[in-house]
Amino acid sequence: MAVIRATDPKDWTHVDDTEYEAYCKERGIDPEKYTTMELLCIAAARQTYDYSFIFAGTGLPMIGCMMAQHTYAPNALIIMEAGILDPKLIEVPISVSEARGGYMCSTLSNMADTFGTFAQRGFCTFGMLGGAECDKYGNLNSTAMGGYYSKSARDDGKTGPTVRFAGSGGANNIASYADVGLAMMVQEKRRFPEVNEYITSVTGSRGPLGTEEDRYHKGLFRGAGTTIVSDLCIFRSSPETGELEMAEIYPGVDEQLVRENVSWELKTAKDFQPFTTPTHEEIKIARMVCDPNRIYLGRKTKRDLAAEK
């Protein structure tokens, strides 16, 4: 799919260097050294493309879509499921329904209308999601681990699932309708099983392409592959098999670490390339334009906390 991207930082939102230095000084943060959350946000924005309709889920995509609009996709439109089309995001929203997310949008309607009028009609061209668990074919589980059923519906004597997650929300629908999907998540081996025990959202091919198990044979009429942005690397669906492959690896990350943190025999994509280190311009925009309060960017992963110790 040929796409347009604004790759020249001259076309991006401008941030004054002096103000940036003052900001970093006040916050006590290194102006050049990026954190894991900043890396995720920048990596996600690099996958987006201009003039797309970015349907953003809650959580990290809130800042991912904002970052995209201020850099690589200045003319992209944002959709948020509570009823929002093309808002002007000045402050990062903490919810897909809050007033910060609705400011100056083209229309403001309701949830069924957003999915109907925009997604079902084909205006969800880029789906951006978060996830808890992701398998070899890009299926996300954001529902439960350790058996889905709650107590009265199960017969194994357990009181419920071992871990209950938030559930689909709009993720299933965004994944089903998007031309291309993207999910931002933390990479741990247990979160990257070969096959998910519960499939909440089909972001990738679902099963091997061309078999009865692929997304089209199950009835989904849109969607051509996904990108998973983890905190170690970027996976992309193979156009031939649908399998997730390692497509880019972050600077300083050992390939072995990536392989140890997935449960299947991970292949390397044909067009594999090292990930370009986040630039000064990107870090500045992520910090000062998207999330100066560091609501999302200030968060730490388990790996970050372990590294600090």
């Binding site: 809650t58 509570a82 000045i90 402050e91 903490i94 919810s95 329904s97 809050e98 007033a99 910060r100 609705g102 400011y103 403001l108 309701n110 949830m111 069924a112 999915f115 109907g116 079902q120 009609r121 084909g122 205006f123 061209t125 529902t143 889905y148 059923y149 709650s150 107590k151 519906a153 009181t159 419920g160 699932p161 209950r164 938030a166 559930g167 689909s168 929300g169 709009g170 993720a171 299933n172 994944a175 089903s176 309708y177 519960y198 499939i199 909440t200 089909v202 009865e212 997304r215 089209y216 044979h217 199950k218 009835g219 989904l220 009429f221 051509a224 309060n293 560091r294 609501i295 999302y296």
Partner: protein
């Protein structure tokens, strides 16, 4: 028609009630209740708190649009059944802890849908349709998991009545599209296809035999929601029930209209004329409203667009508290709601958690007032 009585929904100004009367009249143990709003926005928290004060147990909560009210009810131990799409608190707590814990420890039984699946159920409920068509959820675990079915809550009793009046006889059904995907886009018009969509795999889908055994395009049918009570927050309500919602609608109008009874919590009861001067902006017709409860600032600690912003500091503090021992959280929430709403609103804002300005009570509420242009409070301090 034997006896002529005036239906409750036509009883004019009698709909205006006190918070405690409205809850007492319409919400009973076991009621199927549908809270409106979405996450932190326009959630009818005053009504939710009154339910906690009256300790109404065994609730069957049906909802989409975030779990903030359900979180408080789960913390108070009031929820038994949950029909939902999402139990998170979005950017503040990925999974609402009390709801999560109650599902894991067997206190709450839960059925899951996707947001669009549920959204279409509210549309079907609103229009009185027997079902609505859904084109996602294919290929997922939604298709072969059904909690209420396994619990024996679906279908009819021996006497022919529904086992549960608010639970459909099936979670969903799959049919073959009688129109062979004709209505789906991309669709070949003479001038092009009329969508931004870049991918189209309808030909592969037509070859698929999934779910029915026959080749062709499949459609999932979802049943309407038929809750007994919907609670909703609207900025203004006319004295006969005409309702105006400003800012994002979320699922509110559909859910309100789908329900047997609807209680509207409002910032202000106004004359019908005030709203009927621009009838195109009204969202719920008067006869769907059964009770009107005026509680200015009753959406605290949430956000009511154009009126006030959410109390960020409260939520930051609460999401630490709700991870404590279950009994401790239960005691906290029951104490937090206080004896009545007025005492609550003049005491609890800014109480027991740090805020940058150090204000509390009504002063804190005034501080959260929204900017009329933005609909929120620009620059609201939101420290992590």
């Amino acid at each position: 028609m034997a006896e002529a009585t005036i239906p409750t929904f036509m009883r004019g100004k009698e709909k205006i009630m006190s918070l405690s009367d409205a809850v007492k009249t319409f919400i009973k143990p076991g009621t199927c209740i549908c809270p409106g709003g979405f996450s932190y926005t326009k959630k009818p928290f005053a009504l939710a708190r009154e339910v906690i004060r009256q300790d109404i147990k065994d609730l069957f909560v049906t909802m989409n649009g975030g779990a903030s009210i359900c979180e408080f009810w789960a913390a108070a131990g009031l929820v038994k059944l949950l029909d939902t799409t999402y139990i998170g608190l979005e950017g503040i707590q990925p999974v609402a802890y009390s709801v999560r814990r109650s599902i894991q420890d067997g206190t709450i039984d839960v059925e899951d849908y996707s947001n669009y699946g549920y959204g279409l159920r509210t549309v079907a409920g609103r229009y009185g349709w027997p079902f609505a068509p859904l084109m996602s959820e294919f290929g997922t675990s939604f298709m072969d998991h059904d909690t209420f079915g396994k619990m024996g809550l679906r279908g009819k009793k021996a006497d022919g009545s529904w086992i549960h009046p608010s639970i459909a006889p099936a979670r969903a059904a799959v049919i073959e599209d009688p129109f062979d995907g004709w209505g789906l886009r991309p669709h070949a018009f003479e001038g092009g296809d009329g969508t931004s969509n870049k991918t189209n795999f309808l030909e592969q889908v037509r070859e698929s035999t999934a779910y029915t055994g026959n080749k062709g395009v499949k459609v999932i049918l979802v049943p309407p929601i038929l809750p007994e009570v919907t609670i909703v927050l609207a900025q203004r309500v006319g004295e006969l029930g005409t309702t105006r919602i400003e800012g994002i609608l979320g699922p509110d109008a559909e859910q309100a209209i789908s329900a047997k009874n609807c209680i509207v919590q409002t910032e202000k009861v106004v004359t019908e004329e005030e709203l009927r001067a621009q009838p195109y902006s009204n969202n719920i017709a008067m006869q769907y409203v059964d009770a009107i409860v005026e509680v200015p600032y009753g959406g605290f600690p949430g956000q009511v667009p154009y009126y006030y912003d959410y109390d960020w500091d409260f939520w930051r503090s609460y999401t630490q508290i709700n991870r404590k021992d279950k009994a401790e959280v239960n005691a906290y929430i029951k104490d937090w709601v206080m004896e009545d709403e007025w005492t609550f609103l003049s005491t609890r804002p800014g109480d027991g958690y740090p805020t940058i300005t150090g204000t509390s009570g009504l002063e804190r509420l005034f501080e959260l007032r929204a900017d009329a242009i933005y609909g929120y409070k620009p620059g609201l301090a939101r420290p992590l």
